[in-house]
Amino acid sequence: MRLPLAVLALCVSAGLARAAPDAQDFETIARGRALTVAADCQACHTAPGGQPFAGGRPIETPFGTILSSNITPDPDTGIGGWSDHDFVAVLQKGRGRDGQHIYPAMPYTYTARATHEDDLAIRAYLATLPPVRRAVNDDTLPFPFNIRAALGIWDRLFFTKGTFRPVPVKSAEWNRGAYLVTGLEHCGMCHTPKNLLGGDRSGRALQGYALQGWFAPNITDDRRRGLGSWSVDDIVSYLRTGHNRFAAAAGPMAEEVWVSSQGDDMADLHAIAVYLKDQPGQDVSAAPLDPHRPDMAAGAAIYADRCSACHTPDGAGVAGLFPRLAGGPSTQSIDPASIVRVILRGARSVSTQAAPTGPGMPSFAATLDDREVAAVATYVRNAWGNAAPAVTPARVAADRASLADRPTD
């Protein structure tokens, strides 16, 4: 799932007459549907195995787990009784219907960039969904994080209101990409580093962040840790199909592709790619670890014996099937959470209409011990021109323990 956090405070109470979008306005509804898909609302607002958009999905936040809200048009437990004004206030201001602050698990710091028209189009589409009666408990956070008043302070620190403003010197396509990435697509919710209070770290947009036991990689144009080696078409293919010649979407990104970006407009995906390719990387120089280090030597042996059958001896992988390990962010991220996780638990890449194969990696937890996982992870992070910090056995042990308790995803 793309959102690390989700809305909690779309409090339900009796009140204003429900807005009734013109059911005949097909064009608006169709646009709203596309925007809803692009914004991936469904992922967070659907419980595992539950009715779409009826909420109840547990969302991990740094402060505890909260449940997403029901955004179907049910008048009592959903948003059927809301006015357009109520709805827009959530997206633009992060305020619930009663004026209360909502938790920034709902990406209002991003949705605030969307235009009023787009907000209403989403609203119009949501109003066409079948209403689902499902009340969601909105108070699951422990003290002191259950004090909503504190959120006002949070907003002052980390929330800049206002819709997106185009950058005149950039192309229309770039601006469309910027509008989507910094707005409804809310890429930074996962991919931008957060501070201790969960706010985006200024100046570090899209440079990667660890969440839900994964590391959402740097998606700037950084040559080593980001998408510098990917072309615009590679990015489009990845978002459209979940796969390209380098990588495969698994975990939360697999869900994002499945629910959201495989259905996005191709022109929008292209715009997103153009914008991402224009986000400068840091391109800090890094030198690979000495191949004669004991962990590197052991890692090379384990790689040859266990990994090369798929990822190939030179780390090139097989385009569309086995991710390329040489180059790119999947191996060289500063934080090795994803690579350690995938080795231990295995992973399933997304199966899409355009790329149905959905290959998966098996679990190595039972056959590699912590020292061996650390060695092979260190090796792939420093072979074939890669360079990234070593992974320690202690890190693997810690991740092994914490991953064991994670639910299936």
């Binding site: 004991p294 040859a304 638990r345 295995g346 679990s363 056959t367 590699l368 060695a375």
Partner: protein, 244 residues
Amino acid sequence: MQQVTRRALLAGAATLLASGPGVRAAIIRGGRPWQPYAGGPPEPAGSGPWHWFTPEEGAAVEALVDRLIPPEPDTPGGRDAGCAVFIDRQLAGPYGSAAALYMRPPFRDGTKAQGNQSPLTPAARYRAALAALDAHCRAAFAGQPFARLPEAAQDRIIHGLEDSSLQLDGASGRGFFELLIKDTQHGFFADPVYGGNRDMCAWKMIGFPGARYDYRDWIDRHNQPFPLPPVAIGGGRPGWTPHA
């Protein structure tokens, strides 16, 4: 048309469950199921006491496998290779209880072409044959069990089982010989995770590189020795261990 009784259904379901890893009927739609940590790795044989054999049986089987695969200066024998441990763990599991086999009566003797028709499980065959072997040895060698006999005497007994010149009381000597040699060789060559082939000794002896999965760089290098050492499911290759 054949009708199926409710009782047969339940009995049938029980058979299926007993033979599988506790799996249940499922409906698959909308995508392919996946879950982390899938794959069902093998249960390591582990060290420690016998699981199936009594200490006396274990001693006899260790002596037997060490004659079937005798130790040599550069390669271990069946005992040090762990063949007896392998057989013990196998007999304690589904193999020993014939859990996967068709064991419904009646049991009748048939032709050789019709295959084994014994009502006895492998575990029961070992128990009976080892008891008979023990009785034979103690009677013929002044109360000594097989494990305490000189190698030459042990070899003579095994030859006797092999060529049916030695009849065991209440068990087929030749049948036991065939079962034992099959299981011993399975243990010698199987992955070390099952208790035999300790340190991949059998694989090293013949030049089998073990649980590898990629020879793309080697398949058309004809008539050249493969340079890498064997590796087991659980690793066990010295190169896997980081050495300072």
